[in-house]
Amino acid sequence: MIKFNAVHKWFKSLHVLNDINLSVQQGEVVVVCGPSGSGKSTLIRTINQLEPIDKGSLIVDGMDLCDKKTDINRLRAEVGFVFQQFNLYPHLSVLNNITLAPTKIRKTPRKDAEEQAMALLERVGLANKRDSYPSQLSGGQQQRVAIARALAMKPKIMLFDEPTSALDPEMIGEVLAVMQDLARSGMTMVCVTHEMGFAREVADRVVFMDHGVILEEAEPEEFFRNPQHDRAKQFLKQLLSPMH
């Protein structure tokens, strides 16, 4: 479904992705973790080409992202993306946030698009918020709408970039629940997250990154019980120690 082959990327002189090799099969859930600034967001953003790669090859859903002939807009329609900052459209109601892309791109008739949007809102538990505006929702609710918006295009792959990092602790659970539900439904997912509970529950693999390099790739139990790399050990220790 996704295949990175010796991928490199630079921001000016910063080697932000260094020889990335990673493949994700259909239906797999992969969690990416690592210290801040290690290149996790950049990695996940290359998958729908919010960031282009400089070297190597990247195949997503059979499309070669380096091929000039690949229709990137079509690829993006097949790949849902959920941002740390939600990025809902503040000028549109919850319902219209969700129906915008299906009506404009898939040419879904308005009525069908609204029905599908309502079904998605049911699924994320926000059917009663259809006419609200994003600013009237809590962070957790906004993120659930953002997930529904991404799902409205019926994507084959869902990407999550720290979806719970901007949330108050009491709202993290409701978003993770939606993600777990999605993972169990067989969606192919790549999630940048430090929610180790989530990784344990649903991830097939955990990928640990530091300084643009994938240092470790293992099954969750294996990774948590017995991290191989020193930096992974250190990272896990910091993550598990109380912050205050």
């Binding site: 807009n73 079509r74 849902g80 459209y89 503040p90 000028h91 915008l100 892309a101 953002a146």
Partner: protein
């Protein structure tokens, strides 16, 4: 009349101030001022939008000439632009062009150049995440612009637009130098004819300009309120 001012010259020529020789002759006076302002206003709204969007194009071949165009007209006195249109348009088109159309062209090009800067700032003021969210659902970049960025940006641009349009209304007075009989031109005509009360005449038209601009500003505040939506956190 013992007062300091004698506004009889205004009352005597009131219709002339308001509409010129209309309906027997062409529209003039305040009517023509409003006409020039309204038409240039609408045209330069779209002109500014188009120039602004083009100057944000990803293609340098579009961006550079558009920026050159914008900066040329921003660096030129409006009076000069109107003169240019006055002499250039007929030469270019090979036929005479009504003066009022010349003035509309000049005002539109000049104001569009300024409006484009407002559009650019308004678009750049919308967080990048909005565009990224839109294109990651598969919307094409232009669709992200039209459905997501512009609706938010335009709302933020309204106050600057209004400033620019208020300037535009006042700038229509420059039409008088190419002989278009708008309010200022009519005022000078009446003044030359009567030779008695220049103070009253120019106080009167100053008040008229003020009232139009004030009404326009008030109208746009109301409009802005109507367009309000709750801002995201």
């Amino acid at each position: 009349m013992d007062g300091l001012f004698d506004f009889q010259v205004i009352t005597n020529n009131f219709t002339y101030f308001m509409v010129g020789r209309y309906p027997e002759g062409p529209l003039g006076g305040l009517g023509l001022t409003l006409y020039l302002a309204a038409v240039s206003c609408i045209l330069s709204f779209f002109g500014g939008l188009i120039l602004g969007l083009l100057s944000l194009s990803r293609h340098a071949a579009i961006r550079y000439p558009v920026n050159l165009f914008i900066n040329t007209f921003r660096g030129m006195p409006l009076l000069m632009v109107i003169f240019w249109m006055y002499f250039l348009l007929p030469a270019l088109l090979g036929k005479t062009v009504p003066e009022s159309r010349t003035v509309i062209m000049g005002l539109t090009i000049f104001t569009s150049a300024y409006m484009s800067q407002i559009v650019i700032a308004g678009i750049k003021g919308i967080p990048k995440g909005q565009t990224e969210a839109a294109i990651s659902t598969g919307l094409k970049p232009w669709q992200a612009m039209v459905y997501v960025v512009l609706p938010q940006g335009l709302r933020n641009m309204i106050p600057s637009f209004v400033n620019q349009f208020v300037s535009l209304i006042k700038d229509t007075s420059l039409a008088f130098i190419v002989g278009v009989s708008e309010l200022t031109h009519v005022a000078t005509q009446v003044n030359n004819r009567t030779m008695s009360s220049p103070t009253e005449i120019f106080i009167f038209i100053a008040v008229v300009y003020f009232l139009i601009c004030y009404a326009f500003t008030t109208l746009s505040r109301w409009l802005e309120g109507r367009l309000a939506w709750r801002k995201a956190i």
